[in-house]
């Protein structure tokens, strides 16, 4: 039963992964990628990592929906009314990827994998939380700071307006000059 489920999910993940670069509609490509992610999330659920599986589902849906919006902003041809062939350097890439896959597979099957060490904890989620708050506290803090700097950096990169545009050269405008007014009356 589990095996059948795994096989189905694996095929789904790979097939939709391929579809991402085959379909001629950007919307379909985005959502094929989403399907691939969801299949992987389901496989993660199969390995008893319930929390991580659920979080991947949550994150990937949000990410892909945001991506869909960007796609409309920046892509030609989002609807697939025109054929989308935007490849370059196809042959070289195919060779590289073929070799890489062969190498990886060979490695996977030739490697002498160690035996499973230890038993699975009762509640992997609790284990993860404890690890992040104790042993791996540093990792968590680094991630937090990185995410924060990402937020700052993305806003700086993406926006074309700074505080001088909003509040005037002396930053003394009483009312910021924004294209769209906000809701809390500022």
């Amino acid at each position: 039963m589990t095996l059948a489920l795994f096989t189905a999910l694996a095929l789904l993940a790979i097939a939709s992964g391929v579809l991402v670069f085959v379909v001629d509609s950007m919307a379909r490509a985005t959502f094929a990628l989403l399907v691939s992610f969801l299949a992987v999330a389901a496989m993660v659920l199969l390995t008893d990592l319930l929390y991580l599986g659920a979080v991947i589902i949550l994150m990937m849906i949000i990410e892909m929906v945001v991506m869909a919006v960007f796609m409309i902003m920046y892509m030609m041809n989002p609807a697939g009314l025109m054929p989308m062939s935007m490849f370059h350097n196809t042959r070289g890439a195919a060779v590289i990827c073929g070799l890489l896959f062969a190498g990886l597979s060979a490695g996977i099957f030739l490697a002498d994998w160690p035996e499973r060490r230890g038993t699975r904890p009762e509640d992997p989620t609790l284990e993860l939380g404890t690890a992040l708050m104790e042993g791996h506290m540093l990792t968590m803090m680094t991630l937090g700071v990185t995410l924060f700097s990402t937020i700052v950096a993305t806003v700086v990169l993406a926006t074309g307006r700074g505080r001088y545009d909003r509040l005037g050269d002396r930053l003394d405008a009483g009312h910021p000059d924004d294209p769209a007014g906000g809701g809390v009356g500022r």
Binding site: F31, L34, A54, I57, L58, I61, I62, V65, G183, V184
Partner: protein, 311 residues
């Protein structure tokens, strides 16, 4: 009851949808100044459903039917899966150890679903509905997450039944009111119901749902109400003490509380004009988000003072 719950769930959900539709129709008639006969409201819902059942399914030119169907189906599937973690009485059809996160993940499926339904028909106005819902989701996801995590924090567990157990003495709604209020607001927004229904608003000719007809529309509208029912049902174990209560058995309390929350949400819808996201996303980021964070902090301090939470 144990073995029956998985089969009972769809029945209860459909009953909840029916309840929402009838109450909504009755309140709409009353707000418009026509008397609201209960019988008329009951039959009206049936007529509306029948009307969509017999209607032809039309599509638009160069529409992406596959994606649209995927969207409509995803909405319903997500709502049912989200409701699956709600304890009916003491036992949920699927009492996952990460029930709270699961519920949130399933709610987010609605983003993709509505966006797909808006994209599918290749129509500018329905795509606008899709955009609006994405903006709404992005604005309300964080307060929503903080609100439900606050409840989990108070109980020291992500499992719904543990959260219910932690409320044997006092409901979470009592000592985390800000989280409860934020939950109701943001859950309404995530189900694009009530004052948050700009994504399917009349001003964009029905928005995301604007090009749906026949069975498609029936499923979409049903899925939307299913999502609302699921959100209301989850409020019960998270904040309203689940099955705890005097006199009645646990399952009855869950039903009564769920219907009460639903009634509240439907009533609010008729009290307020639509809250558009160009105005209200700022309220979410500047008011709601800090509020829920402070609430989570307060709850965390209480839990610490009590000695380390639910472990």
């Amino acid at each position: 009851m144990t073995s029956a719950t998985p089969f009972l769930l769809p029945v209860l959900l459909v009953a909840g949808v029916w309840f929402v539709a009838v109450l909504d129709g009755a309140l709409a008639d009353r707000a418009a100044g026509y008397g609201s006969g209960a019988r008329r409201a009951l039959s009206r819902t049936g007529r509306e459903a029948a009307r969509l059942l017999v209607a032809q399914r039309r599509t638009t030119l160069a529409a992406d039917g596959l994606l649209r169907w995927a969207g409509v189906l995803a909405l319903i599937v997500a709502a049912v899966l989200a409701a699956g973690v709600v304890p009916l009485g003491w036992e949920a059809p699927a009492d996952l150890s990460v029930g709270v996160v699961w519920f949130n993940a399933m709610e987010v499926v609605a983003w993709a679903a509505v966006w797909l339904v808006g994209w599918g028909p290749n129509s500018a106005l329905s795509l606008t509905g899709g955009y609006r819902f994405v903006a709404q989701g992005l604005s309300y996801e964080l307060p929503h997450m903080f609100a439900i995590i606050t409840a989990a924090l108070g109980a020291g567990s992500l499992r719904m039944s543990d959260i219910v157990d932690a409320q044997a003495d006092v409901w979470f709604a009592v000592w985390m009111p800000a989280a409860f209020a934020a939950y109701l607001l943001s859950a309404t927004a995530m189900a694009f119901w009530g004052p948050f229904d700009a994504p399917v608003g009349r001003d964009v000719a029905g928005g995301a749902a604007g090009e749906l007809s026949g069975v498609d529309r029936l499923l979409f509208e049903g899925g939307r109400r299913l999502l609302l029912v699921a959100a209301a049902a989850v409020a019960v174990p998270l904040f309203l003490g689940g099955g705890h209560g005097p006199w009645l058995p646990a399952w009855a309390w869950v039903l009564v509380k769920t219907l009460a929350v639903l009634a509240l949400l439907v009533w609010v819808r008729h009290r307020l004009p639509v809250l558009r996201m160009d105005r209200w996303s700022e309220v979410s980021w500047i008011v709601l988000l800090p509020l829920t964070m402070l609430q989570a902090l307060a709850v965390a301090l209480v839990v610490l003072a009590r000695g380390g939470g639910g472990q």
